[in-house]
């Protein structure tokens, strides 16, 4: 075969098949934003160092800036535009909205996609770097604030919305009662997190 630096790929994006020509250099991120008009996925660093471009690829969260579009041929992509159920927001989206889990909003689609996957990873029993005992016999650690923080650390938020993000993920994961979440006082925090 002669070298070819471009080609056509077919992706299933948010349940819909798209065939599009791409330069081999095109990342999935740029294909979404510049070819398909799906600009909900954000470009923050273009180097895998911020998480703003997080999408779900075959159901798993990935950074789309380091995923070549041509190498995603045939795979299923879910972007922020595809996580709601019609007009009904995904519980993670709703929790981010209600609890003000963002400020400028630029990292938000990536945070939300990441959170959706993080909740599923936890439900599947995946340990994290802060899981004290990773042996399978130890069981799944509860999704504490510390676990959420670690699991969401691949998504930088320069506005510093982390506190509300953790609360939103906790609420969406059903680990906290739904409804308005009051910021607990220091004593309650200390108790909840086993500090002090």
């Amino acid at each position: 075969m002669p070298p070819s630096t471009a080609g056509a790929i077919t992706l299933t994006i948010n349940g819909e098949k798209h065939t599009l020509p791409v330069d081999n250099r095109t990342t999935l991120l740029d294909a979404l934003r510049e070819r398909l008009g799906l600009t909900g996925t954000k470009k923050g660093c273009d180097q895998g160092q911020c998480g703003a471009c997080t999408v779900l690829l075959d159901g798993r969260r990935v950074v789309s800036c380091l995923q070549l579009a041509v190498a995603a041929e045939g795979r299923e992509v879910t972007t922020i535009e595809g996580v709601a159920d019609g007009d009904r927001l995904h519980p993670v989206q709703q929790a981010f909205l209600d609890l003000d889990g963002f400020q400028c909003g630029y990292c938000t689609p990536g945070q939300i996609c990441s959170a959706i996957a993080a909740i599923e990873e936890h439900a599947a029993g995946w340990p994290s770097a802060v899981t004290t005992d990773v042996r399978p016999e130890a069981g799944v650690p509860p999704l504490t604030a510390e676990e959420i923080r670690e699991r969401m650390s691949g998504n930088l938020c320069r506005c510093g919305a982390y506190v509300s993000i953790v609360q939103a993920v906790a609420r969406a994961a059903g680990e906290r009662p739904a409804g308005p979440v009051e910021l607990p006082g220091a004593a309650a925090v200390a108790q909840a997190e086993g500090v002090a």
């Binding site: 070298p3 630096t5 042996r135």
Partner: protein, 336 residues
């Protein structure tokens, strides 16, 4: 990024053949390192051979209690695998300590072993770097080297290997398997990475065009009581400034078996065999742990800005081995 040809390999021989056919070709796994380096101009391949969908994505048990891990197993799947977590918990912890959830879902075992240093001079093509441009010099020696090597480096290159996974693999005597046009081969991890010397651009002992197909971990009962501790400049999503994979088996107060490997201190995961030898058969005390660490670190040649790593590694050895010894003692008591 320059234009390049892209081919997806259907099987291992096909992948090897495709790579061999093109000059300046690279295997593409998860792409988390390669695509980044292509964007920064450090890597300028003319052909990418995509190996991610090769049937190398299994983790299988080997006779006697070891594991064979395929090259395209993602970091996430590796860390989530029950047998990895049961037999080599430090390996699962090491993988989980690296990068982020997103990157672990993309990155593969083979790519992890081959990832390049994060030295900021290496990744900036406007600067000299012996690893990227042989003979151009090493700016880190007299420059910014807070996170550079203290062991096994040379005046030509003081970069560190960034892998967390590799540190645990080194501790557990992993063997790397590969395929070439001439057939398969294998390299113990201890021989996989080449000494820096005056050829820092030559990083591994893999034959040209070789495709990593997997890693075997020999049975290691001591690994069941193992731990990975990573220190970094923020709590998560950062490369190590020092890390430790450790396994310890203490019987009646004496060290029966021990494994130690250091991360972020050398151009490769640093197996601390001197320290291990010093500990074997001796008392499991903080003093002995410190003496063993000192024995290993006697070879350290820190630069003006990274001497703290000697203290850091020493402290990590003492802290983690003390924790593991305490667990051994409790387990011994519980089984009596």
């Amino acid at each position: 990024m320059r234009e390049f040809d892209y081919r997806r390999a259907a099987d291992v021989p096909g992948a090897v053949a495709l790579l061999g056919a093109g000059p300046e070709a690279r295997y593409l796994g998860g792409g988390t390192n390669l695509v980044d380096l292509m964007k920064s101009g450090v890597e300028r391949p003319a052909l990418l051979v995509d190996v991610r969908e090769l049937p190398l994505d299994r983790i299988e048990e080997t006779d006697g209690g070891g594991l064979r891990i395929g090259a395209t197993v993602t970091n996430s799947d590796l860390a989530a695998h029950p047998e990895v977590r049961r037999r080599y918990p430090a390996l699962a912890q090491a993988v989980l300590a690296g990068a982020s959830g997103q990157l672990r879902n993309m990155a593969t075992l083979g790519g992890n072993l081959l990832q390049r240093t994060r030295c900021a001079y290496f990744t900036d093509v406007t600067k000299p770097c012996n690893k990227r441009a042989p003979g151009s010099g090493c700016p880190a020696v007299a420059g910014e080297h807070r996170n550079h090597a203290i062991l096994g480096a040379s005046a030509h290159c003081v970069a560190v290997h960034p892998s967390d996974m590799g540190v645990a693999l080194a501790a557990f005597d992993a063997v790397v398997h590969y395929e070439t046009a001439d057939g398969p081969g294998a390299l113990p991890l201890a021989e996989f990475y080449l000494p820096v010397g005056d050829t820092p651009h030559r990083e591994t002992a893999l034959p040209p065009g070789a495709l990593i197909t997997g890693v075997t971990l020999p049975p290691a009962p001591v690994a069941a009581a193992s731990r990975y501790r990573k220190v970094r400049e923020r709590a998560s999503y950062a490369f190590a400034i020092g890390s430790l994979a450790a396994a310890l088996d203490v019987r009646d107060g004496a060290v029966h078996d021990v494994r130690l490997a250091f991360g972020a201190v050398a151009s490769r995961p640093w197996r601390a065999r001197t320290a291990e030898r010093a500990l074997l058969g001796g008392p499991a005390t903080a003093e002995a742990f410190a003496a063993a660490a000192d024995a290993e670190l006697a070879a350290a040649e820190p630069l003006p800005g990274n001497g703290y790593k000697v203290t850091l590694i020493r402290n990590l050895v003492v802290a983690v081995l003390t924790e593991l010894a305490e667990e051994c003692r409790r387990n011994e008591e519980a089984t009596r």
